[in-house]
Symmetry: C2
């Protein structure tokens, strides 16, 4: 089994239960996961989780960030998790045991993020539009939804078992042929949105839905750093051209 040098982090998006945050950290410590990000936690929830007696070192070093990009900006590969029951997805989730072969086929490398939504609502469609893949743990149809801490434990076990966990992997140098990270892609994407807004492509009624689709489309291109730079430059030129023509 060839080891993928993926340096995984766990990202919890708006978790509601401090005990679950602690349980997630515990499961991470059991396997080789070290880095936890918590996106937009409620203040009291976050305080309680961090002040728990015997809190894991991982939890003490975890970072709370205001938005998803703050947690995944320097990652090059993002995987969202979803309950098997969820129906409003625009692509079929991969069963968890198939994630490792899928990552191998895609030659994924570098920093990777595994996203978990809040206990009540899961990940939003907007959250999922930042994901290269969506996985679900193959649970029973009549009891699909797992406890958050247990879901993190099962995913961490699977990453370890399947050999895709390599926390000591060197961070990729920003070589032109390295995959573009999410921060770089977001710069390109924001520029593209400005262009599309200028030319009136994004209709107000479906703007948000279009953005979600376009972001996914951009991810699917699997751009390298170099690709992303070229695309950004092209878009900048178009922006400039448009501003000139509207100024005339």
């Amino acid at each position: 089994m060839d080891l993928l040098p993926l340096d995984w982090r766990v990202v919890l998006v708006r978790p509601r239960n401090p005990l679950n945050i602690g349980a997630a950290a515990r499961a991470m410590a059991n396997f080789e996961l070290r880095q936890m990000f918590v996106v937009a936690p409620h203040d009291p929830v976050w305080r309680e989780a961090r002040s728990a007696v015997g809190a894991e070192e991982i939890l003490r070093r975890a970072r709370a960030v205001p938005d998803l990009l703050g947690a995944i900006g320097d990652a090059t590969f993002v995987v969202g998790t979803t309950a098997g029951s969820r129906r409003n997805l625009d692509r079929a989730p991969l069963p968890l045991p198939e994630l490792a072969p899928w990552l191998r086929r895609r030659k994924a490398r570098g920093g990777a993020a595994l996203l978990f939504g809040s206990e009540k609502t899961g990940l939003s469609n907007e959250n999922l539009s930042f994901c290269h893949a969506i996985v679900h743990i193959p649970t029973r149809a009549d009891c699909p939804s797992m406890n958050l801490g247990q879901a993190v434990a099962v995913c961490a076990y699977e990453l370890a078992r399947s050999g895709t966990l390599a926390t000591r992997a060197p961070r990729l140098a920003s070589h032109p042929s390295a995959p573009a990270n999410l921060q770089t892609l977001d710069h390109v994407f924001q520029r593209a949105l400005r262009v599309l807004d200028t030319v009136g492509y994004l209709k107000p009624k479906v703007r948000e839905a279009s953005i979600i689709k376009l972001r996914r489309l951009l991810l699917d291109l699997e751009l390298t750093q170099s690709d992303a730079r070229i695309l950004g430059a092209i878009l900048a030129q178009i922006e400039w051209g448009l501003s000139k023509s509207s100024g005339e």
Copy 2:
């Protein structure tokens, strides 16, 4: 992957935390595990676990039994779990991902039990002497011990993933060539102990340790129902002979 028709139950031995019992039931419900036994729980712990709001159906149907044999008597295959850190074992635990291939090699079939010890102490050596195999979840050396609910979740996931979970498997008819269940083996074993005591084989100082070793030895013979009946009859005959000779 050929499916082993193993009808798994989960057995918690003296769990201390009602929340963990609930979490174990939740994880069982997520996968196809239906039957939970709880051995010798503290009364208040058991009451609290069962009265939890939203308790799983599994928990309501779970059975509390006074001793381990009450939970595994009708099973033909027993697997104990242990933290990777434990050193005083007389055999090397199997890493969890290797359990399925091991079961296939042994042609295990029928009712199977997966045992989890208490949060504090794990399974005792006596508990483990009832086990055909010991597994451990491959956790980090510096953080080996998993939360009970998470350990149950990971094991349930692994049984499902590896295709060894088949809860709708028909119970084996008590065919002579079917594997002997733990209750039958225990009858044979108790008879053997009486014989060994009569002939003075079991020295008081090492009696318990010897019993543990001998029970494991008996399990390793992988007796069928028919074998067990023959061995039981032989031992009965020896008992009768000994009682006659001592009566003379």
